[in-house]
């Protein structure tokens, strides 16, 4: 498809600041992915919710098993903190399942970004507006749709994360990341629309009050904190020992640490071997690894944006991304046989869950089979 001649102006009017990253196009509307409603509902939406339910079953199992928590490299000092958050029923806001899907056969889970997913604003708002405009100017036929009620679901979910609502919500991310700040700014906008008293503070500004609570840069106590900052880092930093006594409700909740870990992939396969939406996966060193296909992927337990992931075929490294992760161990997973690919690129689907309900889709393309932080965001639509 031809991009809108003024696409930069159009996306910037929405406040989309990172459509170009390091001089490379990130928002790419020269291509769009078309789905049928059947494909969305049968192959993306239903399996996403089924995977989420399987994940919940796994959390129950993991929290009762010191062996699994050890395998997931979660520090023992935080096990009770995690268990309590699950037993209390701390609500979750959102997550993104990354799926391989080429329109033939079931989608396969590549990984679950359960804790700190980004690409949210462009999924929720920018591609929505793109579709409206594409239909208005006749570039797409009238009556097209999109798997994307993210905006509505986020506002509704934010209002219900804590009782009584409205409540005060702090939101935080690291300094010096436009992408993270853009994501948090958007969620803050949604929080205000949910009627919440929303306040931003950078992770580095968070302080500790004499009564054990965390506070923001203005010394305001933090009672509820949306943190676009991974649990595995919070668990290992100076304030780690203050988490459990902070009386703070965290979003995502601590139990998401069980899911935002690539060990999950091996554990799910162990629970449900031959599940249609899972790929065979084992912890590295497990003798069952020898049963994996010759083309498989080696992933660190903790890794972000493709870092330290290696694609191997018959012992040869085909593609890898360097990075700082891997100290906690690795899993091996069969390469997805149904990753959408063309001569030019590969595409990975991101299936969004808000409050554990599947309600949105994003597509990211990359020149290599490993989706990295250099991948391009491509809009999608449902055919009329």
């Amino acid at each position: 498809m031809a991009p809108r001649p003024d696409w930069q102006t159009q996306v910037e009017r929405l406040g989309f600041a990172f459509h170009t990253i390091d001089g490379e196009t990130y928002w790419d509307e020269s291509t769009a992915y078309a789905f049928t409603l059947d494909e969305i509902e049968r192959d993306i939406e239903a399996p996403s919710e089924a995977i989420e339910q399987l994940c919940f079953a796994f959390i129950e199992k993991a929290l009762a098993s010191d062996e699994i928590l050890t395998k997931l490299a979660i520090p023992a000092a935080h096990w009770d903190f995690i268990r309590e958050s699950w037993q209390r029923g701390d609500r979750n806001l959102y997550g993104r399942l990354d799926l391989a899907y080429d329109g033939r056969g079931p989608a396969k889970l590549l990984e679950y970004n359960a804790d700190t997913p980004t690409a949210l604003f462009e999924s929720s708002v920018v591609q929505w507006d793109w579709l409206e405009q594409a239909m208005a100017r006749g570039a797409l036929p009238a009556g097209c749709d999109q798997f994307n009620s993210l905006h509505e679901r986020l506002i509704a979910a934010l209002g219900q994360l804590r009782e009584p609502s409205p409540y005060r919500l702090h939101l935080t991310c690291v300094q010096n990341s436009n992408e993270d700040k853009g994501t948090v700014d958007y969620l803050m906008d949604c929080a205000v629309q949910a009627g919440l008293d929303a306040r931003f503070t950078f992770v580095e500004e968070i302080g500790l009050l004499s009564d054990g609570r965390f506070c923001d840069g203005a010394n305001q106590p933090i009672e509820t904190l949306f943190k676009l900052y991974p649990w595995e880092w919070l668990f290992r930093e100076r304030y780690a020992g203050n988490l459990a006594t902070s009386r703070c409700q965290f979003i995502e909740p601590p139990w998401k640490a069980i899911l935002s870990n690539k060990g999950l992939l091996a554990c799910l396969w162990d629970m449900e071997p031959d599940h249609p939406n899972l790929l065979p996966a084992f912890f590295e060193g497990d003798p069952r690894c020898s049963g994996l296909s010759p083309r498989h992927v080696r992933k660190p337990l903790y890794s972000r944006e493709g870092a330290n992931i290696t694609l191997i075929e018959r012992g040869q490294v085909l593609d890898q991304d360097d990075g700082p992760y891997g100290a906690e161990g690795f899993i091996l997973q069969d390469a997805a046989p149904n990753l959408f690919g063309s001569a030019r690129h590969y595409a990975v689907l991101g299936s969004w869950l808000v409050a554990s309900q599947a309600c949105g889709l994003c597509v990211r393309e990359d020149a290599s089979p490993i989706t990295k932080n250099t991948s391009r965001f491509v809009p999608h639509y449902i055919e009329a």
Partner: protein
């Protein structure tokens, strides 16, 4: 429809409403936001006929009285919606105080046909604390003062006007920056963020 019906963004000051395309219907091509502050603004807009504006405004007024939160005193209402933002009315034969009708919103494609107009209320003080320095808040407060049966709220067409809905959600609004006074002391700062500093790649995914 599997997508959101409308998207409001305070930071960008936009309110986008999805076009619902019937199988054979022809779309309304206008890009205008169909939020009107008053009957006069609707008529002046030229998008709807004068009769349609009257009808939509009557609907919004009726829904306003039905859906707006009812108070027994002006002060209780003003505590929530701000000074000068409330009006008296009669509901089910009893006198009540309600936040004034600040405007009404139409789903774009429903403007010509069916579909009720949604009443909009003044922004809540919670979303727009008095004394806040945020420009939207100042605008919201200074232009506040509806009152009168179905009076307009707000002045000129601004890209960042604030409302709330009868269900209590803020629409096109920015939160205040006023901070409370902490009674405890801060014993330390900077206990989080060290991993991000030691890694060059992103903390998100």
């Amino acid at each position: 429809m599997k997508r959101s019906t409308q998207i409001g963004l305070a930071a960008a000051g936009v309110l986008l409403v999805a076009t619902y395309w019937g199988r054979s219907g022809s779309p309304d091509q206008s890009e205008d936001s169909l939020v009107y502050n008053s009957l006069a603004e609707c008529r002046a807009g030229g998008r709807l006929t004068s009769t349609q504006c009257d009808q939509r405004f009557r609907e919004a007024s009726a829904n306003h009285l039905r859906d707006a939160k009812k108070f027994t005193s002006t002060s209780a209402c003003e505590t929530e919606y701000g000074s000068g933002s409330c009006q008296s009315a009669v509901w089910n034969g009893a006198p009540v105080i309600v936040p004034a009708l600040a405007g009404f919103m139409l789903a774009r494609s429903l403007a010509q046909g069916g579909g009720a107009a949604q009443p909009l209320l003044p922004p809540t003080r919670q979303a727009f604390p008095p004394g806040s320095q945020a420009p939207e808040c100042q605008q919201a407060r200074s232009s506040s003062g509806g009152g009168g049966g179905g009076g307009g709220y707000g002045g000129g067409r601004s890209s960042s006007r604030a409302y709330s809905t009868t269900s209590g959600a803020a629409l096109v609004a920015r939160s205040g920056t006023a901070s409370g006074v902490a009674t405890t002391s801060t014993t330390s700062r900077g206990g989080f963020g060290s991993t991000a500093r030691s890694y060059s790649s992103s903390s998100s995914s």
